[in-house]
């Protein structure tokens, strides 16, 4: 406890994050986070690697701009999150690029991360090694295992062909980023589609999405709106960048509206049933008796 109090004294930004229990309501809030809560801003984990963090910031800014341009979701400025200090309960979507040099978050940070996952938050883990996939190169995959081990992550499986991620906004059959082809993992399908790792209370939404396609780099733009990182070449590269943005939009839709799109399949049937059940009341056996 003394460690936490000391930190709080030192780091004003962390104040809100360290108010875990009831009765601390008058603690100062981090204005960035409270704004993020109001505007559903996207957030990324600060890794300490300046290049990666810049890519994350620019990438989420690019995705935010695409959301503003194309959808009803209009998120605020992306938020950089220091896992050891910031309260995650004000956020909905967290982009977590994996680097080898990343230090392990503190146990308190893991407790906050687990609560974040359990209460409906979503984390996109990006190992950014999609270009090396299949080469058996060590590195990010091991770093991911090291970082994610303390998290309550449900059993994972490759994204099934009919997963909501493939149709949350755009129709997609692949989820490219700067790289493409690497498998993307979500919570494995449960016996019942309605039941996710945290039971029916989480609407069957996978709390984590894991892949290695270096999405932030695909979403990133410079100050003139030009791609920040090279993707492929010519038209194919442009197409891949567009599909990466579409994946980003689908992912944000999935994080914010859950399995809404999988309900849609049943809507016509539901409407049909509504009409059928509200049929004419049976005729009265005794005329003029009861309404």
């Amino acid at each position: 406890m003394s460690v936490r109090l000391t930190r709080r004294g030192l780091l004003a930004l962390a104040a809100a994050s360290l108010a875990p229990a009831m009765g601390r309501a008058q603690d100062e809030l981090d204005p960035r986070l409270s704004e993020a809560a109001g505007e559903s801003a996207l957030a990324y984990v600060v890794t300490g690697d300046l290049e990666v963090d810049e890519a994350s910031d620019l990438g989420l800014a690019g995705l935010t701009a695409a959301l503003w341009a194309r959808t009803t979701v209009e998120p605020g400025t992306p938020v950089a999150v220091a896992l050891d200090e910031d309260d995650l309960s004000l956020l909905s979507f967290l982009y977590w690029p994996i680097t080898d040099s990343q230090p392990l978050p503190s146990p308190q940070a893991y407790a906050r991360l687990n609560r974040f996952l359990r209460t409906g938050g979503m984390i996109l883990f990006d190992t950014r090694d999609g270009d090396l996939a299949g080469t058996g190169a060590p590195g990010s995959a091991q770093a991911l295992q090291r970082l994610a081990a303390p998290l309550d992550i449900p059993p994972l499986g490759p994204v099934p062909a009919d997963h909501v991620l493939t149709r949350a906004f755009y129709l997609l059959d692949d989820f490219p980023g700067r790289w493409q082809g690497a498998t993307v993992w979500v919570e494995a399908a449960q016996a019942s589609a309605e039941q996710g790792a945290f039971g029916p209370s989480n609407d069957g939404v996978s709390p984590v999405v894991i892949g290695g396609n270096s999405w932030a780099e695909a979403w990133a733009e410079d100050e003139f709106g030009r791609p920040r990182y090279v993707i492929g070449s010519g038209y194919d590269g442009e197409r891949q960048r567009e599909l990466a943005l579409r994946f980003g939009i689908n992912l944000v839709m999935y994080a914010l509206s859950g399995n809404y799109k999988s309900d849609q399949v049943h809507v016509p049937e539901l409407l049909e049933r509504l009409g059928r059940e509200q049929g004419e009341p049976p005729p009265l056996q005794v005329p003029g008796l009861l309404p």
Binding site: D27, L90, Y260
Partner: protein, 705 residues
Amino acid sequence: MTRLGFDPLLPWPFVAALVALALLAAGLAWWRGLRGWPWRGLAGLAAAAALAGPTLETGVRRGLSDIVLLVEDQSASQSLPGRAEQARAAADAFAERLTARPGTELRRITVGDDPDGTRLGEAITRALAAEPEARVAGTIVVTDGQLHDAPSLPATAPAPVHVLLTGQPSDWDRRLVVEEAPAFGLIGQPVTIRLRVEDQGAVPDEVQGRAVTLRVSIDGAREEVVAIPPGMPLDIPVTPEHPGQNVVAVSIDPPEGEPPQLTDLNDRAAIQIEGVRDRLRVLLVSGEPHPGSRVWRNILKSDTNVDLVHFTILRPPDKMDGVPVDELALIAFPTEALFEERIEDFDLIIFDRYSVRGILPSAYFDNIRRYVENGGALLVSSGSEAASVESLHLSPLGAILPGRPTGLFLDAPFLPQLTGEGRRHPVTAALPGAPDPERTDAPHWGRWLRMGDVIPEPDAEVLMTGDEGRPLLIASRVGEGRVALLTSDQVWLWARGFEGGGPQAELLRRVAHWSMKEPDLEEESLQVQLSGNLGLIVTRRTMEDAVGPVTITQADGATAELTLEPAGEGRFTGRWQAPGPGLYRLAEGELSRVVAVGPSAPREFEQTVATGARLEPLAQATNGTVLPLSEGVPDLRTVSVERQAHGEGIQRPWIAITPREAEAVDGLAIRPLLPPWAWLLLVVGLALVAWLVEAGRVGRRRVRA
């Protein structure tokens, strides 16, 4: 009876040896030609007999009295006019005759009321089992023959069973029979109750076949009247209107007739139908995907009783990205189907951060307004759009929303508080974690970060406030429907556990169900729970400071008053003990409830015309008979066992008991056949005779003479 026994002084072999010795000695004497040899032998045998110890055993026996059982049915059905006197007169007459009869014991057994009706069979079986079978000389049952446990009757009895039926040959009764009534019914869907009016006994001609006036009333509401012929089954459709007990009171007008029918008690019935909600259909319209939509979905999807139809505006009409339609997963919002054709099918419509963007024509908002005014439920959870020109408040729906936005939207953290009304209102009362104004340092739920500013409508109830007392949750009634407005979109922070979180699921669930008129969440309600034996627990919820006493009216018009005690904010409770089963109407102010306690028509009065049908087999099996008391009290005779025990006398019929002449052995007296000195005298005398004979004194004198 007396019997000879032996009590040998020495073991039998010694006695046998002595007998052998005596015979041997006699034989030797005969061979030697001694004239006294028989006497010698006799003396020896007498000595052996003395050792064998012959005894006389005398039993003490006693004649036993006969037992006659007199079983009197004093159940409620025997209280019908004339029957009680008739039964008592008959029972007393037999009791007098039987006690006057020597050697006869009388057992009087009374059968009273039982919740299961008249348990006469059980009483007879028990009374017979309690008496020694060999002494029971007869059983006389005085009853109307309406017993409810005929299977418990014994198949036979050791002595005649006579049944004396009360009632008159002119007895008749008209009763209401509920043939079929469902215990549960979906709210709003008619269920069928099948009734029949049945005539029993000697129905007078002026009543026979005449139509019966049947009255039906649900929950004490206005009666519906219909004329039906007796004997015909009738289907009545009734519709449970609310969850919980729906009481259908059915009665027929007592028929005119001379003599009057036996009882009016079986002319009415109360049928309780538990109202069950059908699956609730909820339409959730999200104006945009935001973290709060997940909270709404989680609450509605985890309720298995809800069919959720959810639409989210993913792309507003003014944003285009040039992506071909076949690469989009977007579907058109079926507005016509939802807001024109099917709108009445929904139990609740929720608008979540919905901004008016020209997607819904204003005619559809008019439809929603009409839907609410006709009894629908609307919930609006608004975000920053409420303060903008795209606000729902500026649509035709604004007319029914319980607050008017000022255009101000506050981005400042605040702690949601319950208002005074909110602490009483069932939607927010006792929400866990609510901040207590008197204990500000106690733990409470977390803050929210932004809200819109609205001016509440004067007739709306502000249940929660946010920043500086600005209304946060407002509830109001519009026409027959209800509307609730939440002026912040931050309820999801409670779900996330921000600053400890809060009861978001409970709050939203209650708001939703209140708007759908869940009776448990009514502000002004009078609820009655049955508790224990005829006990009623009355709970009155109110937004007022005090409530008057509850007036309880019984079926016969008698009233009682119950004063309720405060039990927490907006709750008053009391307990009342009903004097008996029946229908009770509880009323306080404008609220009233009808509650059925126990069976509405007591089982005793279901059937009242006396009949011997159920007891006849037992009477026949035991040579007994069934006689109506209306022809007078029969004579009492005795016959021997296994003979017919009833018959027609000169003046009146007779019934008989069968004396059993049972005896009991009380004891056994054992006396020696002869005292020891007599044995000695016998043995010595015989020996002396042998000596005298052999000495010639007896035989020679005789020969000489």
